[in-house]
């Protein structure tokens, strides 16, 4: 579209220019042609005039010679010649009268036999005798035949009556010869300064005489034929033309020179006069003037052409400028667009940079957090370790002092328990953060879970003389699908913190409330742990869920804690799709509100399994019974343990509990030992998991696969450092009956053994 417009824009001025140029060219050509025609007309007219004048001059000259001859003939009529001598004398007299010598003329007489007489007498037959034998009275021509070797205009008059001399000679013709050269003046025109050539021709176009100027343009015998064949000649049959018009004037080119000629007929003398002249000498003044006009015209045309070109250039440039302006505008627009895009890009880059910086800050923060975490972890691990190492050293020093030994042992135990808890938490949070924690969902009974927690935590409440209330509100769905262990862990964490961070005699309330359902299959619960303890600063509340963070103040610093509990709680809640809200006020207490949704279960929970599956929270309650008598007492136990120290400790612990054991350093040996044992030789197998040659899971499967009568029945309890829920599940799947995590806690072990044996008794194990 734009291209078409551009084309249209160019075409119009070009068309106009072309039209103007065409008009100039056509007009100029027409005008030049007109001028040339005028020049031609002027030249031919001038030539016609001059040639006509020449013709008149020549005609007059010839006529006058005829007059002379007529006078002579009249005079002869009266004469009688007695002899040849008288003839000579007469001719001499007449020549004197006519002054022929002065005019380069001669008189001749012819006799009837063609003999010729002049003033010197007879001299043979006249050469041109044949030319006057046509029976005419008069002849006029140019003769080359004279003895004088000149060309003569020849005027021949036949006597109407021959003159007979005394000797009988009959004179028949009187001839007047006139040198051609002397008549040249009549047809040479001064007007052309002698540049013209004059040809006297016979009617057939051939030359009339031999003696022609060697400089003449046309030397040929047939002059008219040559003239007709000249380049640029417009008449190809001049003789025919002469029958139609009196005068012919035209031009031709010969050897690159333009000539003009004029051809006229002198009919009375059967003669043609051809006037020839180079064009440059004809109508010189007029041609010059016209030349000047043409030059002026040419100059004018050149000027107009220059103006036209300049105008076109101007328009072209203007158009070009406009085009350039439009182009610049377009460029500017594009540039602006580009700038905008660049700015956007810059903003994006800035944002990216900011994001990157934020990411970097986050990374740095994370790094710092990790450093801080490591630093905190180091500190928190070293603190109980310091107590263990320190009291172990004091124990060695004061081994002989039983009180000291007891005191130190208790402190070492306490520090060890703290350290164990710390390690468990660290491992827990590490696993949660690594995304390796999975929920172990089972059908559970919520009131029972609450009761279990109540049982677990109430002794601690009591120990600090706290009042502890458990409130249940609107519980419509008791059986739900949940990871009981994790919910237990969350609520125990919150309650433990409430116990720890509430001054003695405080008031702690656990409220369990079922909220309205968001879906038919989901039960929505709110768990609120409220205390009237120390409370937290607002700043700390902001980072309470970060690992290893604890309110730093003189009171809380004395309270033992890993700083990981809330972080684990938050992570577990996130994993379970729940939320936690913290409200706290310094010295007034804190309120932790947890909301969770569980799928409603249509099956009642297996309460026994629930109890047996490591609910450590219930273990405290069971601990009272074990003090009375170890269940391990009297048992012979097959132990698979590769670590000698652990094996020795376990042997000592079992020994302390009144049990004996055979220890094998890998699963294979243990399985072989069991295979080789007599039925009832072993009552229990304690199986480490990670061992060389054959691990605990494999050894268990081997044992269960033996043909030993008790292969399927003998209780096998995992006793391993692999203490996570997954490890427990793996152990059960391998065929084991229980799980006791290392380090070996004899109470835990005894409780586990008791639970297994009780299940066995009830027939649940099989």
């Amino acid at each position: 579209m734009r291209s078409d417009r551009k084309k249209n824009g160019i075409i119009l001025p070009v068309l106009l220019a072309a039209c103007l140029l065409a008009i100039m060219v056509v007009g100029g050509s027409h005008f030049t042609s007109y001028l040339q025609k005028q020049i031609f007309l002027e030249r031919t007219t001038q030539l016609n005039e001059i040639t006509s004048q020449v013709r008149a001059n020549l005609s007059n000259a010839l006529d006058s010679h005829w007059n002379y001859l007529t006078i002579l003939v009249n005079m002869m009529r009266e004469r009688r010649f007695g002899s040849e001598a008288e003839v000579e004398s007469f001719i001499g007299e007449m020549e004197a009268v006519l002054e022929t010598d002065g005019y380069h003329a001669m008189l001749l007489l012819l006799d009837s036999r063609g003999n010729c007489y002049d003033d010197h007498g007879k001299y043979g037959v006249w050469t041109d005798i044949d030319r006057i034998s046509g029976g005419e009275e008069r002849y006029t021509f140019i003769s080359d035949s004279s003895r004088e070797e000149h060309s003569y205009w020849t005027f021949v008059q036949k006597l109407d009556k021959p003159l007979v001399s005394g000797d009988g000679t009959a004179f028949t013709h009187v001839i007047l010869l006139k040198d051609v050269e002397t008549l040249t003046d009549y047809y040479d025109s001064d007007a052309y300064g002698g540049h013209n050539e004059t040809y006297i021709l016979k009617n057939n176009g051939t030359r009339m005489h031999d003696n022609i100027d060697p400089d003449n343009t046309i030397q040929a015998y047939n002059v008219l034929k040559v003239l007709e064949e000249m380049e640029g000649q417009r008449y190809t049959n001049l003789r025919e033309m002469l029958t139609k018009q009196d005068v012919i004037s035209a031009n031709f080119t010969y050897n690159g020179t333009e000539y003009y000629y004029c051809l006229v007929s002198l009919e009375a003398y059967d003669t043609l006069i051809l006037f020839l002249i180079p064009a440059q000498f004809v109508a010189y003044g007029t041609v010059n003037m016209m030349g000047a006009v043409i030059r002026m015209l040419l100059l004018l045309m050149v000027a107009i052409a220059v103006l036209l070109i300049a105008t076109m250039i101007f328009f072209a440039r203007q158009r070009s400028s406009q085009r350039l302006y439009r182009q610049e505008q377009e460029n500017l627009r594009r540039q602006e667009e580009m700038n905008e895009k660049l700015e956007e890009s810059n903003v994006m880059l800035a944002r990216s940079k900011e994001t990157a910086e934020q990411a970097f800050q986050i990374a740095e923060e994370a790094n710092r957090a990790k450093s801080s975490f490591l630093s905190n972890m180091s500190h928190d691990i070293r603190t109980p370790m310091n107590a263990v190492v320190g009291f172990a050293a004091l124990l060695a020093r004061d081994a002989d002092k039983p009180d000291k030994v007891r005191e130190y042992t208790e402190k070492i135990t306490a520090s060890s328990q703290h350290l164990l808890g710390l390690i468990n938490d660290i491992l827990d949070i590490s696993k949660i953060e690594a995304g390796k924690t999975t929920l172990n969902l089972t059908d559970e009974n919520l009131p029972e879970l609450i009761e279990g927690i109540d049982s677990f935590i109430r002794p601690q409440m009591k120990a600090k003389r706290h009042t502890f209330e458990v409130l249940k509100k609107d519980i419509r769905h008791e059986n739900v699908v949940m990871d009981k262990l994790r919910l237990n862990q969350i609520l125990v964490n919150l309650l433990s913190n409430a116990v720890k961070y509430t001054p003695e005699g405080g008031h702690i309330v656990l409220t369990v409330q079922e909220l309205p359902q968001s879906g038919k299959q989901l039960a929505h619960y709110r768990f609120v742990v409220e205390d009237n303890g120390y409370g937290m600063s607002e700043a700390y509340v902001q980072k309470i869920f970060q690992a290893f963070t604890r309110e730093e103040d003189s009171v809380t610093n004395k309270i033992q804690g890993t700083g990981l509990g809330m972080a684990i709680t938050k992570n577990l809640l996130d994993l379970m799709g729940g939320s936690i809200l913290v409200k706290s006020e310094k010295n007034k207490g804190s309120v932790f509100t947890v909301e969770l949704e569980f799928a409603v279960s249509d099956r009642p929970a297996d309460q026994d399994l629930e109890k047996d599956n490591g609910m450590t929270g219930n273990l405290a309650e069971e601990g009272a019974k074990e003090k009375e008598e170890s269940i391990l007492c009297g048992m012979h136990i097959l132990v698979a343990e590769d670590n000698e120290i652990n094996a020795e400790i376990l042997k000592e612990f079992l020994d302390m509990a009144g049990a004996s054991c055979d220890i094998y350093e890998n699963g294979k040996l243990a399985a072989e030992a069991f295979a080789d044992s007599a039925p009832g030789q072993y009552q229990l197998i304690l199986m480490d998991v990670q061992m060389p040659v054959m691990n605990g899971y494999e050894a268990t499967r081997t044992i269960r696969a033996l043909n030993h009568p008790l292969a399927k029945k003998i209780p096998i309890i995992a006793m391993t450092a692999n203490a996570f829920a997954e490890d427990i599940r793996d152990a059960l799947e391998a065929g084991m009956d229980g799980h006791a995590a290392k380090p070996v806690d004899m109470n835990v072990l005894e409780q586990t053994v008791r639970a297994v044996l009780e299940r066995e008794e009830k027939g649940t194990v099989d």
Partner: protein
């Protein structure tokens, strides 16, 4: 040497193509030869009015234009010949003719080149050029130098008999009487020839024919305004002829005397006066004093030499189709008409030129001619074609007595003249079935010449026949022919047939002589003038100068040098063949009374035969 070698190469290169082309044309049966000549580019055909031009003039042209391949042939000396050629579309490039009248050539003038605007025409005196100028200014023909033709007198013979050389008509009559008394033929000429009859008739009355009345009648006649003789002018002419026959003692038997015979009488002093030319005057002044005297009038002032151009020359307008060709032809014409060329025409004996800048060259034998030139007493013969024929008829009739007086002769002349103007339907005498190309081919020779020579051999019944190719007047084309046209196929005025027996060896010597002897009437000047053999073949080599005979064969077999063959030779006995036969060792030969031209005419017309098939008779290397 080098130039000739190159030319030989070029010709050798061109010839195979020419031959192939010619073969193709022959089969097509079209206009053979002519186009081949045109296409050759440098090949120029020149028709000579007489074989007398070949020996010097032809050689001169050959030398002037070494790159031009001239094709010479001898034509019948008549403008009718060229009219015939023109009708056949077979005009030669250059035409020459002695018998000439502008009115005779006017009907086909457009076939000729107009020379009026050329430098060539410009070189001529106006007074002569006028006779060749048409009313519209066209000039086709230009005259070569003047031939002087009058009474050749054996002055030595007259003086031996105390008879003075006559100076006027009366003295001439007296002289004739005295000579007759002495038993010497006072005047002889070959009255068997038309030109002799015409020239003698006009010559002895030149003073009458140049009177005012005579000139006036002539102008009327030549311009076609009258076709009958003026009684005022011509009755005295016939009266003078009647007297002339009477006092010279001419009889009907004298009509048997040919041109060569006349000069035999003259050489033998059996005739004191003959009609002769300036060249003959010079030729017969070697062993005697011969003078060329004018035709006599009453007084010395009335004595006139009869004159005419040695020949007229023209060129075919075909040359105007190519500027280069036109230029070449004009250059050749210039060479023909310049002083060098003119001297070759007269064999350097005398020269009276018509063109400017060439002064007359008059030998002592022609001393009187100079006076006549000065006094302008040169009578130009009235030489229209009909004038020749009618003059022969009437003069011979006067000699035989058929026309016993001037009146009957005058009437007969007038009648015959008018009859000649009447047009009659041509009578087809013969038909020639095929074309015969004249162009010479190195492998085979000239078809036309071979056909004619073989026909002659058949007619003469000899084993072998030999003659010059240029005796055949160019191409022989298929078509109908009148008897007159059949005569145009060959030349044949002075050519005779000589019969003899020759051994093979003699034939070798004869052929070697004719091939290598220059400057004779019958000399070979180029390929087109080579001899043609009938009954045997020749192998000839081209040399730096001329030709050399290498081998003769009969039917391809080596010619037996010892065998004797009956041979016929075509040529002029006196001008070359006698010497040629002598050189061959053949002294015994006879002259056939048959005209070779007539043999060909009779074969085609009366006998109704075709020409004998041509054969490849020559190999030119």
């Amino acid at each position: 040497m080098k130039k000739r070698t190159w030319r030989a190469f070029i010709l050798a290169g061109l010839l195979p193509f020419t031959l192939l082309w010619a073969c193709g044309r022959e089969k097509a049966g079209g206009d053979i030869g002519r186009k081949a000549v045109d296409d050759a580019g440098n090949r120029v055909t020149v028709a000579f009015w007489s074989d007398q031009l070949t020996e010097h003039y032809g050689a001169y042209l050959r030398d002037c234009f070494p790159d031009v391949e001239f094709e010479f042939y001898v034509a019948t000396n008549s403008t009718d010949f060229y009219r015939f050629k023109e009708e056949k579309g077979d005009l030669p490039d250059i035409l020459t003719v002695r018998r000439f009248a502008l009115s005779d050539v006017e009907p086909w003038r457009d076939s000729l080149m107009d020379l009026s605007d050329s430098e060539l025409a410009n070189a001529f005196h106006q007074s002569y050029l006028r006779s060749y100028t048409y009313e519209d200014g066209t000039v086709n023909w230009l005259p070569a130098c003047a031939e002087i033709d009058s009474i050749l007198i054996n002055k030595t013979l007259l003086e031996a008999n105390d008879i003075p050389v006559p100076m006027n008509y009366t003295e001439f009559v007296d002289t004739c009487g005295k000579l007759r008394e002495l038993g010497i033929r006072p005047f002889l000429s070959n009255f068997d020839a038309d030109y002799t009859c015409m020239e003698v008739l006009q010559g002895i009355s030149a003073s009458m024919l140049t009177s005012q009345a005579g000139r006036q009648w002539r102008q009327l006649y030549e311009s076609g305004q009258t076709d009958e003789l003026s009684e005022e002018v011509w009755m005295p002419v016939f009266e003078r002829m009647e007297e002339f026959i009477d006092y010279t003692g001419l009889t009907g038997q004298d009509l048997e005397i040919g041109h060569l015979d006349v000069f035999g009488y003259y050489e033998n002093n059996e005739a004191a006066m003959v009609r002769g030319t300036g060249e003959e005057a010079a030729r017969y002044s070697e062993d005697r004093e011969s003078v060329l005297m004018p035709f006599y009038g009453e007084t010395a002032e009335d004595n006139w030499y009869l004159t005419y151009p040695a020949f007229q020359v023209a060129a075919s307008a075909r040359a105007e189709e190519s500027p280069e060709r036109e230029k070449l032809i004009k250059e050749i014409l210039t060479a023909m008409l310049n002083e060098e060329g003119l001297l070759r025409i007269t064999n350097g004996k005398n020269l009276v030129a018509y063109n400017k800048g060439v002064p007359p060259q008059i030998p002592k034998e022609l001393a009187n001619v100079q006076t006549a030139i000065d006094d302008n007493r040169l009578y130009i013969r009235l030489a229209s074609a009909d004038m020749f024929a009618v003059s022969r008829q009437v003069v011979q009739g006067m000699i035989t007595g058929e026309y016993p007086d001037a009146r009957s002769a005058f009437d007969a002349f007038n009648k015959a003249l008018q009859e000649s103007k009447e047009t009659t339907d041509p009578v087809i005498a013969a038909h020639i079935d095929r074309d015969y190309a004249y162009a010479f081919q190195p492998e085979g020779g000239s078809e036309a010449a071979s056909a004619v020579i073989n026909s002659l051999r058949e007619a003469m019944g000899t084993q072998l026949f030999v003659g010059q190719a240029s005796n055949v007047a160019g191409n022989i084309l298929a078509g109908d022919y009148t008897e007159e046209q059949l005569k145009f196929l060959t030349q044949g005025e002075t050519t005779e047939i000589l019969l003899c027996d020759m051994t093979g060896e003699q034939l070798y010597r004869y052929m070697e002589y004719v091939l290598t002897t220059p400057g004779r009437r019958g000399s070979v000047v180029n390929d087109s003038t080579l001899y043609v053999s009938g009954g045997f073949e020749m192998e000839v080599a081209r040399k730096d100068k001329g030709y050399a005979l290498e081998r003769l064969t009969v039917g391809g077999e080596e010619l037996d040098r010892n065998a004797v063959f009956s041979v016929a030779v075509l040529g002029s006995e006196t001008l070359m063949q006698k010497e040629a036969l002598e050189a061959a060792g053949v002294a015994d030969y006879t002259k056939s009374g048959l005209s070779f031209k007539q043999i060909i005419v009779d074969r085609l017309a009366s006998e109704g035969k075709q020409l004998t098939d041509p054969v490849d008779y020559i190999t030119l290397r």
